[in-house]
Symmetry: C2
Subunit: 300 residues, 2 copies
């Protein structure tokens, strides 16, 4: 599972004003990620607004991204859906098109029980044959994975990795040790929550599932490489320089911030699907100011 280690970079999914996937802008984003040598691309994650896209749109996004990546970076793709049968169809599509793995979140409307989530994940893994990453994202799904449920899921054939959320950064080390004790050898443990990711990687996590990595991949790759080399001082120095960005992620959300960054970096002028709105002008100016304050080279 070498592709489920290091930096997994999550790009936005650019959509035109007429509501169609902007494949040209998407190719630009993928090209940047490959050039920066990210370890994998987290396509159609929450940052890629997968839950707002149809099955056909998701197929188009994956086909376009795989075509542009051309084997330079494996693609892990969101296959979550409210219904189990739909998630199975999405995972089969992903496998047929060539994704390396599927990100599966416990998307819910009716609150789900642990047994329901266990069945959902088991059926998708079994019926698709696609390697599955447990996508634990309580901020969007409002489902909370207990260690007991994770312990059951990691024994299911085909479930190969977990993307954990992070809360307070000082809890990561103990969380990682606890989770490492319940997963099989070779199971990949990763974290999201960009502002805590440097500490997670320093603590020995396998993967940083990164929102900023989808738009500013170079600095995120540097943080990961420093962590992997055991140079915590350098990783923390690079991370500290990103504090203005992390503050915006916390204040106005990482999703809305990276849409603004894509525009400021002149990559594309996309907006998230409504009802999600782009940042108002004042907040966009804050993003521009944060970008200007980054050390030279970081924001290119």
């Amino acid at each position: 599972m070498a592709f489920l280690s290091g930096l997994s970079a999550f790009p936005i999914t650019p959509i035109n004003r007429d509501g169609r996937i902007d494949t040209k802008a998407l190719r630009k984003l993928i090209k940047r990620l490959c050039a920066a040598k990210v370890d994998s691309i987290g396509l159609l994650g929450s940052t890629g607004c997968y839950m707002y896209l149809s099955r056909g749109e998701r197929r188009r996004v994956l086909t376009t991204a795989l075509g542009e990546a051309g084997g330079r970076a494996p693609i892990v793709v969101g296959v979550g859906a409210l219904r189990t049968d739909e998630a199975v169809r999405l995972a089969r599509d992903a496998k047929a098109i060539g994704a390396a793995a599927g990100l599966l979140a416990a998307v819910s409307y009716t609150p789900l029980t642990d047994d329901e989530v266990f069945e959902h994940f088991s059926v998708v893994a079994r019926e698709s044959g696609l390697p599955i990453v447990i996508y634990d994202n309580p901020a969007t799904t409002h489902f909370h994975f207990t260690p007991a449920l994770v312990g059951r899921l990691v024994k299911v054939p085909g479930i190969v990795a977990i993307k954990n959320p992070t809360g307070k950064s000082d809890a990561i080390e103990s969380h990682l040790a606890e989770q490492r004790s319940i997963v099989p050898e070779g199971f990949s443990i990763g974290y999201s929550g960009d502002w805590n990711a440097a500490e997670a990687m320093i603590a020995g996590a396998d993967t940083w599932y990164s929102v900023l990595g989808g738009i500013l991949p170079e600095v995120c790759v540097k943080i990961v490489r420093a962590s992997q080399a055991g140079d915590a001082t350098e990783a923390r120095r690079l991370d500290a320089a990103l504090t203005p960005i992390w503050d915006l992620f916390k204040q106005v959300s990482s999703l809305r911030t990276v849409y603004a960054l894509a525009e400021l970096l002149d990559i594309c002028r996309a907006e998230p699907p409504r009802p999600i709105m782009p940042l108002p002008a004042a907040a966009k100016q804050q993003v521009a100011a944060a970008l200007a304050r980054l050390p030279s080279g970081t924001g290119s």
Copy 2:
């Protein structure tokens, strides 16, 4: 808005083992509601699993229900969706097919801001022309409507009613008085949370949006009529007899309980869409026991 008062009964949406809408069972459910003289039918609410059904399936459900109701009860139908453009399409469909109003929830994946929800509701009301009921259901959407946001929304043309959740029953009277002070004359205020609904109706709410009303409409109609006639004692007596059912709603969810009730009452043998699972056998026995304990006539 006479149809947005009294009992709004929310049936399940029966689905066959092969995944298709069971229109025969749906007609049976609608027939029972009309025979019990409910004031409106809350089709494709959370109990009707609207978020798990496609646009085509939702059209089919509404067409079938309207055909069976034949004008005997107006139909209020769920038009919620993650995307604003999809909610507009669903609301237009509902208007074209003949629904009296649309239930619109703040369905979210990416957490939404107040401004985003305001825009979402305004656009759906304006572009569909369908009267809109604000469907405040934080247990499923995880969005919380503040009094300030409700105050903005009730001024939007075409937004005609609100379905509030209930927390502790002793807070309903003050909540109702506060909300009444910010809504225009004639705006309908209703409550869900069946175990608190008798108190809400006694306190002067316009509508009880009822899960149990979708499967045992007669007793719910009686509670509403007693409340409307000012007979709080009789309303509370009838409500108290339903305590075993309310306990199950709280323990194993109202949705899963009414699926079991539909089977026990020999109306249909449907299951909710996966990942939602039917109750395990032991819990079904509890539902059967609760049904058996109801006063004669209630559970027919």
